[in-house]
């Protein structure tokens, strides 16, 4: 666990798939996770993320493909021999055992000597900041404490990979934020490799080294949170992470920049880099925080005219809504900094953004 071998992945899935009758719960999927990495499976419910996790855990069998853990094939290995740790959504703490015995359970299954069990469990309870609850029954603990015991139980035997199935789903917002920090701390402190499932994009952004965005039983996009946020490769990815403004456009020319024409009488440009050619129809995505309401005389790389619809202050940020000439609604975000521009609904306004804020997405190739 300590020496991180970056050449050999900790976990590797090759062509793994799962169907239930006619329904493809998971299309053929490849995924590789290196040692010490925190990878999140993110997606809406039914996107296949939990299916993928249970296959890795060995709780359900894949129809095709291979699973490799630590360079050894584990496809047909029974659950208890896979050397994985799993944190369940409802924690699955054993109600008839004390906290100590819960954490000691995996060690007992591995025939660890009693003295070592004592040492390891106590150390682990200290790591999760709950050194004095060993004698209690698990149901006497609060939700956050149970969560930490669940973490302790699956980390105590230093499994190759820790799997977490929406572990924070049952906690309230405040506790969730706290536990995110806690899990991150454990991750670095123990050097653990973690495969994490959530449908909460903020959680995924905050915690992950890489996010594996899933949709309809397949991987939509795999990359760092930054990549997914700023360079989504599909409309789905653009929409699922954060808010986005999307509209159609046509590539007019590829020179120093990529120039596009739109359906609402404005030409816009993007930085080079996207793999598109002239004449191609693409989708354009602009994050609301890149959009700015322009004052009279102000200008930007890209400017579009729109009809103002309304403003809403939601705490530290302010949202402005407007409608483009072709009917698309767009949203701009700015920090709330005192009385700024005030427009009346129906007024003609202009929005601007820098050309590096233009993200081109090639239309989905359905299949």
């Amino acid at each position: 666990m300590q020496d991180r071998d970056h050449r050999q992945p900790k976990l590797e899935l090759r062509g793994v798939s799962k169907r239930y009758g006619d329904f493809a719960a998971l299309k053929r999927t490849d995924l590789s996770v290196s040692a010490g990495e925190f990878v999140t499976l993110l997606g809406p419910s039914g996107s296949g993320k939990t299916t993928l996790l249970t296959i890795v855990a060995g709780l359900s069998a894949s129809n095709t493909g291979e699973i490799w853990i630590d360079g050894a094939e584990a496809t047909n290995q029974p659950v208890h021999k896979r050397d994985i740790g799993m944190v369940f959504q409802n924690y699955a703490l054993f109600p008839h055992l004390s906290v100590f015995e819960n954490v000691a359970f995996p060690l007992r299954m591995r025939r660890t000597p009693e003295s070592e069990i004592k040492r390891k469990v106590n150390r682990m309870l200290e790591v999760v900041h709950l050194p004095h609850v060993g004698d209690r029954l698990t149901r006497e603990l609060s939700g956050g404490q149970q969560q930490r015991i669940a973490l302790a139980r699956c980390a105590v035997y230093e499994p190759s990979i820790i799997l977490m199935d929406e572990p924070l789903g049952a906690l309230d917002k405040k506790l969730r934020d706290q536990m995110q920090v806690e899990i991150k701390r454990l991750h670095t402190e123990l050097g653990a490799t973690i495969l994490y499932v959530t449908h909460d994009q903020e959680e995924a952004m905050a915690m992950s080294d890489r996010i594996c965005l899933m949709n309809r039983g397949g991987i939509e996009q795999l990359g760092t949170p930054q990549e997914l946020y700023f360079r989504p490769t599909s409309k789905f990815a653009a929409d699922f992470l954060g808010t986005s403004n999307l509209f159609g456009a046509k590539v007019e020319g590829v020179g120093e920049t990529i120039d596009l024409s739109t359906g609402f009488h404005a030409s816009i440009s993007a930085l080079r880099g996207a793999d598109v050619g002239p004449g191609e129809e693409v989708d354009v995505m602009v994050r609301p925080e890149h959009l700015r309401l322009l004052k009279d005389g102000e200008t930007a790389d890209n400017v579009v005219p729109a009809t103002f619809e309304g403003t809403m202050i939601t705490g530290s940020v302010t949202r402005h809504w407007a409608r483009l000439d072709d009917g698309t609604t767009i949203v701009a975000l700015s920090l709330t900094t005192g009385p700024t521009l005030s427009f009346q609904p129906g007024e003609a306004v202009r929005f601007g953004w820098p050309k590096d804020g233009t993200v081109l997405i090639r239309p989905a190739r359905e299949g």
Binding site: G58, A61, N76, P78, H80, I84, M86, F88, P95, R153
Partner: protein, 591 residues
Amino acid sequence: MRAALARLATGVRPHLGLGPALLLLAIVFLIPVVHLLQLSFLDSAKGFSLEHYLRLFQTSLYVKILANTFKIAGLTTALCLICGYPIAYFIATSAGRGKAFLVLLVLMPFWTSVLVRSFAWIVILGRHGLLNQMLTAAGITDAPLDLIYNLGSVLVGMTHALMPLAILTMLAAMQNIDANLSQAAGTLGARPSQAFWRIYFPLSLPGVAAGGLLVFITAVGFFITPILLGSPQETMLAQIIVIQIDEMLNWGFAGAVAVLLLIASIAVFYVFDRVVGMSALTGDMAPAGAGKQGFLSRAGSRLGYALIAGLGWVCDYLGSGWDRIFGTRGPHGGRRYGVPIAAILVVLFLALPSFVLVPVSFSGSSFFQWPPVGFSLKWYDAFFSSPIWRSAMIRSVYVGLATAVLSVAIGIPAAFALSRGRMVGKTALMAFILMPLVMPHIIVALALFYSFSKIGLVGTSLGLVLGHTIFSLPYAIVTILAVLKNYDIRLDQAAWTLGASRLVAFRRITLPLISAGVITAFLFSFVKSFDELTVALFISGGVATTLPRQMWAEALLNVTPTLAAVSTLILILVTVVILAGEYIRSRQPSS
């Protein structure tokens, strides 16, 4: 003034619903039982005396019978638990249609009368019965074996009668065990056998204990099976009560025997509560050691853990040995066949025997003989042409219907009160309502006989209906409560805000949504009453007899295929009713 009254009404209303149920239980159950207990302390001149108790212990006869009763009840309990566990486990851990079907197969015998099932065992185990025929035909034995009228046949009959109760009670507890726990144990490195013995089994123990308790208490009060399938050596305590009343009308002594039974039951309950805790009875998951923290439970649980850990490792070794010999199973497909096979065998044992009565009912011979001789409808003819059988049948039907109506009418408000009202002592009230079920039936029957004879209710249909309702009501209330548990009270509140009065909201919203539960409660109450023998044995004297009572009388005289014909008719009726109940339940919108 009006406002104050209204406030009073809304404050009290939920509790009022319990009124009729409690009143009925007090008058028809509590007072008669207390009366009976008093009676055991009176001599023939109505003065206080312990003569009946002295008589109990004067000779070794009754002590022997008591010991015998405990032995038979204990063995039955052990058999029920050991054979019932695999099927309960199998049902609890499987899913889908198969599961519902298995539950149905277990439920069927549960609702079929003990009387009918005892007849079935006479056909199977008899000297010229099914089993002996098979053994001789297969050349295993030359002469028929004595398979019946001994301890073995009594145990078979009683286990067959009570195992559904054990299975259903264990199942209730097992269904509350989170399936994730076993999976979690797997991810933490436990082999399936380890996960079972260390996690699942300890968690299911309260359910096992509860099943054992209910089976034991019921078994202690058994008399039908030992009389029909046993010899004098298998005489049980309840038989003494029947004899004392039937032949000698010795109330005081019968009362003393009943007290003995009752004390035995209470003692068992007491031990159960100390070790396991009463909450296990309702199927709530009580972690081991939830009983009162006494020496008994602590020593018990420590011993238990050592034992369970040991079992886990033994099975682990066996399992890995198996793997080594036959190759490692895959992570999933390798569900062992042992449990399903055991489960299916047990289900066959439960479901099949009753059906041997069907061919016998068409037999041309005058005996319970296997294989049936020829084909004849004369036994059905005998049944339908006999005025006694006909009137018994009609009486059973309308007593059953009346019981069902009464149980549901009283049960609905009581269930509402229990589910909605926030009241003190709810658990105690629930325990009181369930008490008739967990007390040997014969005690209640005896008590009712005595009290009803004072007010002229013996031999009347009203007396029968009241007596049967005591046993149907708990089922009705529990069934309706189960539906109400899933019922969202905000639907009512929504109806009120939309302008419906309470009555209209109940009729238009609540009732349609809980109708499945109500109909099920009605059907089960009917079946319960239709099959009931113990109360009927005492209350329906003379010409005013019910079908089971008439079968009993006939069986004591002469076992003819008429009984098989009646049993077949009862089987058909019960099957239809249960299937109807299941059908309605499966169409229930919620849950």
